[in-house]
Each structure stands twice: as structure tokens, then as C-alpha cells.
């Protein structure tokens, strides 16, 4: 069976086509993406992002179909992101999916964005039953599967980790191209001095807004006093040190809550998904933790970590194969759609 997936819950518009050959691993036929990049110092507004998606979606669908080399008659269903995400961009993509469904006479499948990430990560890495760390600009969750649902063990109590990084990038007015988090990662590689930041872990939950406020204060201090020196080593403190301190602190928190969930459910596999999951320092830290527990870490590269259409096509097709469809009248989208609301019929 073959499905096409449309994703546009945030600033990336993705279209992917996947095939599930009987008894074989899934086959990615095409997976393309176009990102709405806002100017430095600014985030992406829902209105502009939706406009971007609307103007690109037809082009991307055509390109994906051509790249995959499939005919409309080969496609079994049209999958789209039902939520969670930003309202206006979600709506734009849902309209495109409805249009394709009516135009081609195919069934619609509404997909939970988070479940899309998890299923694609499992498919690509072959991780069987891992603890999942889902980290992106909008979500921070530690998830494990139990009895037909992806259950959330821990999550951010306020802003998502990616949002913390994105907003600090705005404070520093560094480029949002290709992604603010990527540019912070590059800067952090040059950092050496670890500045004191709050460390906010509460059980398996964590909090990032206080850290963002603190690092913003430090950035303002640095701007006021560019000659600021570390009192112990005497090194001059730079913005690279701020990025380094921020990354070291928030990733240590993420690895810690993941480790706690692993100890709690008795698993030694961990899968990292979501845009922040493409950060190599996070992957490295997670690997060190997993090694000490006698396990291993699974991560994917930016093609599958960062929002994409193929994961929606994949998770949608898994549901479609169990008989799940979304009738046109119910093909809505929603900003709030928790991972554990989805009944996972396709797993034991």
C-alpha cells in the first residue's frame, strides 16, 4: 500500500510518499520539505506561516509525486497532520489534504504529529520498544509504550526545550536559517566556560522558562559589559559560552529525565525524535548515558528528525491498514492533541 502524507504544524511544510510492501520494511518513495524562515530576531507568526504553506503545498505535492514516480491511482490514502501544532498552518494543510482526497477520490487519515515522529523513528532505526524522547520547538515529552497507547511519563511543564533555544536565538539575533537551534549548536562548539544556570528537573518533568529568563539576563549583562571575564579561569566570556552553557544545562536535564523513565520502565533502549533530536551534542550525551546502562541510543538525521511529510504518511498508513479512516466531515485539525489520546491499534 502507498500513502501520501502532508505535514505543516509549524514552519516546515513537508510532503512524503511511502510504500509498505507486504512483509518488508517501509520504502520511502519521496520526502521533500520547504521551510518558512523568519528574519533574525523574530519568530514565525501563524499568519505568515500559513500563507507560506498555502502557496507551496501544490508545488510540493506535484514534485513529491514526480520524484516518487507513482500515479494517482497507486495512492491508497491521503494522510495529514490533525494536530498538535499552530492553528492557521494546520488548517491550511488540512484544506489541501481534503482537496486531494476529493480530487483523487481517496480516503483521508488524520494523524497525530507526535505519533508520526515516534513511528517514523521506530521504522528507520529498528528500535523495538524504546523509551522515546520527543524534543522539538513545540513539544518536550518522555514517552513509553504500554497497552495500546504511547504514554507520557515526563514532559516540560512550561515552554518546550526547542522553544527555549529558539527564543534565545532571537535574543542573540542569530539567523533562523536553516534553524535557530542548529546555529546555537554551531556557536556552542566554540564555548568553554560553563555559567551557572538553574537546573529545573521535577521527577520526570522539567521546566525551561526560568532557564530562558536567566540566560537572557546573562546575555544582557554580556552586552553591557563585553569585557566580562570568568572569575576562576580569567577567560573572556562570549556569546559562544552562553550557547554552550545553555546547551549543557538543558540537555543534561533531558538526558536525566530520560534516564529516570528508563529506570522506571526497565528499558535500556532510547529513541530520540523531533527537531532538537538532530542536535549532535544531545545525541552524544544520550549515548554516554545509554552506554552506562548497558543499552543504546537510536537517533535519526535531519530528514526524519525535523518535521516531515513522510512520518505522517507512515503513521497514517499504519492506522489505515488497521481500517482507520477520517471521514471528510471529521477531517478537522486541533492545536491540542495529546500523544496518549491516540489508540495504537497497530502494535501488540
Amino acid at each position: 500500500m502507498i500513502s501520501i502524507g502532508l505535514e505543516g504544524s509549524a514552519n516546515k511544510l513537508g510532503v512524503g510518499i511511502i510504500s509498505h510492501p507486504l512483509g518488508k520494511p517501509a520504502l520511502v518513495l519521496s520526502n521533500i520539505r520547504h521551510t518558512f524562515v523568519s528574519p533574525p530576531g523574530e519568530g514565525f507568526l501563524p499568519k505568515d506561516t500559513a500563507k507560506h504553506h498555502r502557496s507551496w503545498v501544490v508545488r510540493l505535492v506535484k514534485q513529491a509525486m514526480a520524484e516518487a514516480g507513482v500515479k494517482v491511482s497507486d495512492v491508497d490514502c491521503v494522510c495529514y497532520t490533525k494536530g498538535p501544532g499552530m492553528g492557521a498552518p494546520l488548517q491550511g494543510v488540512a484544506i489541501a489534504a481534503r482537496m486531494l482526497s476529493l480530487l483523487w477520490g481517496k480516503e483521508l487519515v488524520g494523524v497525530n504529529h507526535c505519533v508520526g515522529h515516534i513511528e517514523m523513528g521506530r521504522e528507520i532505526t529498528g528500535a523495538q520498544n524504546p523509551v522515546v524522547l520527543y524534543v522539538s520547538g513545540g513539544n518536550t515529552q518522555v514517552i513509553a509504550y504500554a497497552e495500546q497507547r504511547y504514554r507520557i511519563f515526563g514532559e516540560a511543564l512550561d515552554i518546550a526545550v526547542g522553544n527555549c533555544l529558539d527564543r534565545f536565538a532571537r535574543t542573540l539575533r542569530i539567523s533562523n536559517d536553516p534553524a535557530p537551534g542548529y546555529n546555537i549548536e554551531q556557536l556552542a562548539k566554540k564555548g568553554k566556560v560553563l555559567l551557572d544556570l538553574p537546573y529545573a528537573v521535577k521527577g520526570m518533568d522539567c521546566s525551561f522558562s526560568g532557564i530562558l529568563a536567566s540566560i537572557d539576563i546573562l546575555a544582557a549583562e554580556l552586552e553591557a559589559n563585553p569585557q566580562w571575564k570568568d572569575p576562576i579561569t580569567g577567560d573572556t566570556i562570549t556569546t559562544a559560552d552562553l550557547c554552550f552553557s545553555l546547551q549543557e544545562t538543558v540537555y543534561a536535564m533531558l538526558v536525566e529525565i530520560t534516564e529516570r523513565a528508563m529506570a522506571h520502565v526497565g528499558s535500556n533502549q532510547v529513541l530520540i525524535v523531533g527537531g532538537v533530536g538532530s542536535n549532535e551534542r544531545l545525541q552524544e550525551m544520550m549515548g554516554l548515558m545509554a552506554r552506562d546502562r548497558g543499552g543504546n541510543v537510536f537517533a535519526t538525521d535531519e530528514r526524519f528528525c525535523i518535521d516531515n511529510g513522510i512520518m505522517i504518511a507512515h503513521a497514517g498508513l499504519l492506522a489505515y491498514e488497521t481500517g482507520f479512516t477520517t471521514p471528510l466531515e471529521e477531517s478537522t485539525c486541533t492545536q491540542r492533541f495529546r500523544t496518549d489520546e491516540v489508540f495504537v491499534k497497530w502494535r501488540d
Binding site: 504544524s9 509549524a10 494536530g83 498538535p84 501544532g85 499552530m86 507526535c114 520547538g137 513545540g138 513539544n139 515529552q141 513509553a144 504500554a146 497497552e147 497507547r149 504514554r151 507520557i152 511519563f153 514532559e155 516540560a156 511543564l157 512550561d158 515552554i159 518546550a160 522553544n163 560553563l194 551557572d196 537546573y199 528537573v201 521535577k202 521527577g203 520526570m204 518533568d205 549543557e248 544545562t249 543534561a252 538526558v255 536525566e256 534516564e259 529516570r260 528508563m262 529506570a263 522506571h264 520502565v265 552524544e284 550525551m285 544520550m286 554516554l288 548515558m289 552506562d292 546502562r293 548497558g294 492545536q335 491540542r336 492533541f337 495529546r338 500523544t339
Partner: protein, 275 residues
């Protein structure tokens, strides 16, 4: 106190090949029994050893340095957690909250020696109980007085801890021990355990605990426990309200905390939204 002639042997857990950092000297101390690994938690390794006398069992909690963490951050967290755990345990003990007593510690090398608690964690007992019922074909909500009783004891224990100004920070069913009530004997034989949910609740693992009287912190504590219940024991989730009922009666400020818990729950639900 009843002093056993020798501490009973336990099944040691195979140790994972871990870091090359040398163990603190407590591990080779001549007066202590060689520590046997009991469990590898998230942050700490738990060993069983003895304290002062070869007949007095103790738990040795060792926080090895985490290779993934920056050394400065690692040292800061380890020191802070060992000290705050010991302070909180001492305070709870003084105020009559059921926790293990503190014997010794060294925050710079990262270990804490505490009283050994017999029994099993609630998570294991509860899962065993749920499994037995499932196998016997008993439906949810039928004949569950044992579970209601356990939930009540959990709520009361958490309430007692909050009443003295301590919040746990990591309440899960893995951090609640069930210590068997002193064994009833008939003709010298121990009675067969027919109710595996019996026992006194002992709160353990105060590694993330802090001292706070704020309703917000207490409510977050309850929220963490509620979520852990839901995700670890989905089939017992319906009875979590019994924990809250018992909690509500446990100290004067408890009803306010329960009110606050509703706010915290609402916040938690928003999480699926973009920040």
C-alpha cells in the same frame, strides 16, 4: 531492637561495566560488608552493606559522576542532592514521617548510607496484584478493598510528609516501599501472606526532594504521582482518587493543595500546544 545474627543474603544484581572513575573508599572500608548491588536507579546505584556492626544492614546509595554531564555541573548537582537528601531525611525522621534513617554520608565523593528497609516497592506489588486479578478474571472495581486500603495509606504518607514542609520531587510507585507489618505467627510459623498489598508505606529516594511549604510545590508533587500512576498502572488509575481523599484528610492545608492540583492539571494539558 531485634538484632539478627547475620543479615540474610540477597540476590545481587549483575553490575554493568561502568566508568573508570575509582570507587570511593567506603566501598573497601574494613568494617563494612562488601556492598552488593541491589538496583541501578536513574541517578544512583543502590548497594546493600552493613553499618558499624556486621549484623546491621544498611543501604548505600552511590551517585557516580555522570560522564554525559559537564564536570562542574555534575559536581554541583551531586553535592547538592546528597546534602539535601540527607537534610530532608533527617527532618522527616525527626517529625515522624516514615522514611529511612540516615547513618553516614560524604557529599564530595557522592555517597549516602541509610537504613535498610525490608519489603518491596509498591510498583512491583501493585503490578503483581493486578496481574493476579487479571488471571483470576476479576473485573476492575470489584472487590478492591485491598487496593483502596493501599491508596489510602499512600495518600496519608504523602500528606504527612507535606505537613512537615517537605516535597519529594519524584513521587512514583517505585519510590514507595511496602514494609511488611510485623509478622503474625501461629504456633511459631509465619502466616502465609494472603494480601500482598499489606504493609507500611515508607517513602524512599529523596534525591530530588526539597523543603517547601508552598501549595504549588505540593500540588506538583501530587501531579507527578498521579501521572506516574496513570502511566505505570493504567488499570489502577481509576482508584487514584482514593489517594487524594486520604491526602485531603491528612493535614490542615491539604484541601487547598487539592484545589491547586486542579490548576496544575490544567497547565499540564496545555502541553500539546506550541509554546
Amino acid at each position: 531492637m531485634e538484632v539478627p545474627t547475620a543479615i540474610p543474603a540477597i540476590e545481587p544484581v549483575a553490575e554493568q561495566p561502568t566508568e573508570s572513575v575509582p570507587r570511593p573508599s567506603i566501598f573497601k572500608h574494613p568494617s563494612a560488608s562488601p556492598p552488593q548491588l541491589v538496583t541501578q536507579g536513574a541517578e544512583a546505584l543502590l548497594y546493600r552493606s552493613t553499618y558499624l556492626l556486621p549484623t546491621l544492614p544498611c543501604a548505600l546509595k552511590y551517585r557516580p559522576s555522570k560522564p554525559y554531564r559537564h564536570p562542574i555541573l555534575d559536581a554541583r548537582l551531586t553535592k547538592h542532592r546528597i546534602l539535601s537528601e540527607a537534610r530532608v531525611l533527617a527532618k522527616c525522621r525527626r517529625e515522624g514521617v516514615p522514611v529511612p534513617g540516615v547513618y553516614a554520608l560524604d557529599e564530595s565523593t557522592g555517597w549516602l548510607m541509610i537504613e535498610w528497609i525490608e519489603g518491596e516497592v509498591v510498583r512491583i506489588r501493585l503490578n503483581e496484584w493486578l496481574k493476579r486479578r487479571k488471571d483470576a478474571g476479576i473485573e476492575e472495581g470489584v472487590d478492591d478493598a485491598e487496593l483502596v486500603g493501599l491508596m489510602g495509606r499512600v495518600g496519608a504518607a504523602v500528606g504527612r510528609m507535606h505537613a512537615v514542609g517537605v516535597v519529594h520531587g519524584d513521587l512514583t510507585t517505585s519510590n514507595l516501599m511496602l514494609r511488611p507489618f510485623s509478622k503474625k505467627t501461629v504456633n511459631g510459623d509465619a502466616l502465609a501472606e494472603d494480601n500482598i498489598l499489606d504493609g507500611e508505606i515508607i517513602l524512599i529516594d529523596f534525591g530530588l526532594a526539597s523543603q517547601s511549604m508552598q501549595d504549588e510545590d505540593r500540588a506538583v508533587d501530587l501531579y507527578v504521582l498521579e501521572r506516574a500512576f496513570g502511566s505505570t498502572h493504567p488499570r489502577a488509575e481509576g482508584l487514584f482518587k482514593e489517594v487524594l481523599v486520604a491526602y485531603g484528610k491528612s493535614f490542615k492545608g491539604a484541601p487547598v493543595v487539592l484545589k491547586k492540583l486542579e490548576d496544575v492539571r490544567m497547565r499540564g494539558r496545555k502541553r500539546s500546544m506550541l509554546g
